[in-house]
Amino acid sequence: MSTAVFKPSKSQLADQSDGASNYLNAGFSAKSWLLTVDHKRIAILYLISITLFFFLGGLFAVLIRLELLTPQGDLMQAETYNKMFTMHGIVMIFFFLIPSIPAVLGNFLIPLMIGAKDLAFPRINLLSWYIYSVGGLFTFAAIVFGGVDTGWTFYTPYSSTYSNSNVILVAVGVFITGFSSILTGLNFIVTIHKMRAPGMTWFRLPLFVWAHYATSIIQVLGTPVVTAAIMLIGLERLFGFGIFDPKLGGDPLLFQHLFWFYSHPAVYIMILPGMGVISEVITCFAKKKVFGYSFIAFSSIAIAVLGFLVWGHHMFTSGQSVYTSLVFSILTFLVAVPSAIKVFNWTATLYKGAVSYDAPMLYALGFIGLFTIGGLTGIFLGTLAVDVHVHDTYFVVAHFHYIMVGGAIMAYMAGLHFWWPKITGRLYPEGWARFSALVIFIGFHLTFFPQFIVGYLGMPRRYHVYPEEFQILNVLSTAGATILGVGYLIPLIYFTWSLKSGPKASANPWGAKGLEWEKASSPPSQYNFEKTPVVTEEAYDYEPTIWLK
């Protein structure tokens, strides 16, 4: 690759007259946003959309927790409650968690981190946002027309034959959104392979990029299978195919296989990018080279690949063959190895580092603790015999919320705070940010830790009524959820405030390493770099701290 002459097209040349131009002031019309092919602007479009879906999904969570405040079903009926947890799951998973870090932070940062002007396919990148939006509209329409009650897992034959809710509309929404996810992954894979700046070898890539490469593998390999499964549900509902209908000799478990072939790896779509964020934040705020770079890099790939070999652990009690369950149970333990490698390496990075506790670091530290609890309880659930006891109880609900909220959303918040100055060119109020990190951490534990206990005691998930002896734990959980909700609203307020009134950020306010901090301004110019950067050092080449000298 050569450092070729910078070649903007004609329409783009017009914007170059202003000396201090950046991607934000390169155009102000609606068209300049809605038809942009700039990965940074598309990231902002995603940021706005997924924030809307986050609070929509949060609204359903509020209603669920309110209903569970008392043992009786006094706020809503069983049918309504079924719709609440279904739509909470569908919105949060398909429209918030899966796109969150990749489509916002990954989209914005990968070209900057590898020294490229854009992703490999900028127009496909824009297309994937439109596909996401169309899928979102279908789902939103389904909600407006009365919702859907199958659970986010769409299990057959209920979803294919019996449910009277808007299954088709939501299925179309999820089907369409799947293509958006595929295209994002495809774009990242090609970009990381082919667009790296001179000197940016694979083992000089930031770990954030490795994590996104692993994520993209899953998006490309897994998503089409769930797409096919959802298509079959649609065909079954519309034409009465009978593939999943036991009455006609069909096998409902086939759907579960196809569904979890994607949806288990999809958990890693949600958590792997978060792990990438944590690697960046920990090294920056420990001011220390990451411990065991290649182990963290390869453990991301290992998680992506192993993630495809364990899906049957969601089906231990479904009537799946015992022998297949045994194999899946054993393979599930293997995933713990690369996950643990990451946790050990992050903590080892902190050792003798010059640690400072800014808001991103608080979120990152929170992530490590919460992810560890979520991961270890995952081992309980992967153990065949224990799972039979706690399957479909609140223990499972608590486990995956520790991974998805405690892991993925904490990491998303860490990343959002860490790169906010780079994305917007403004600083957020540090004091408020630390306060909200603390509120979220406390609120989170109060919400979900009681659910481990109540689940272990036997409270099943997906019921709107429960025995009275579980009330105290449920009240604690609802109280925690209230705190958690406040914790999420505070950042919404101060981030919005900082857009206009925050102090201007320098190019590298954290003193961090990486091309996006060292070679690009805040906010970056329209084509990221003045000239293609040449990389001469490894990632995280921080000065050794005073104790090591």
Partner: protein, 105 residues
């Protein structure tokens, strides 16, 4: 450009090989060979697919990365098929009670 131009003759050789293999697979299907029928049909289909991938899709002349990409899709397809089939094939090895209303009365 780094494109590799394959002589036209190669394409015709592959084309006729594919036609011949199609004829063979139809012909074989009319003999009762038991389980061998399936093996032959799939074997011929895989051979045909390989010819298309290697020559028409130029993988034979492509970088290692293309080889890896082409192989990955099929590798993960095999994972999907193998685990799903393992469930269906071994599900009835342990007899279960007839369930609701059937067995224990």
């Amino acid at each position: 450009m780094s494109q590799h131009i394959v002589p036209m003759r190669v394409y015709f050789v592959i084309f006729f090989s594919l036609l011949i293999l199609t004829a063979v697979t139809v012909w074989v299907a009319f003999f009762d060979l038991g389980a061998v029928n399936d093996a032959v049909a799939l074997g011929i289909a895989t051979t045909k697919a390989m010819l298309v991938i290697l020559y028409f899709m130029h993988v034979r002349y492509s970088s290692k990365l293309t080889w890896i990409f082409a192989a990955t899709g099929f590798l993960f397809l095999i994972i999907l098929l193998a685990f799903t089939l393992s469930d269906v094939l071994t599900r009835d090895w342990i007899p279960v009670s007839a369930g609701w209303g059937g067995g224990a009365q």
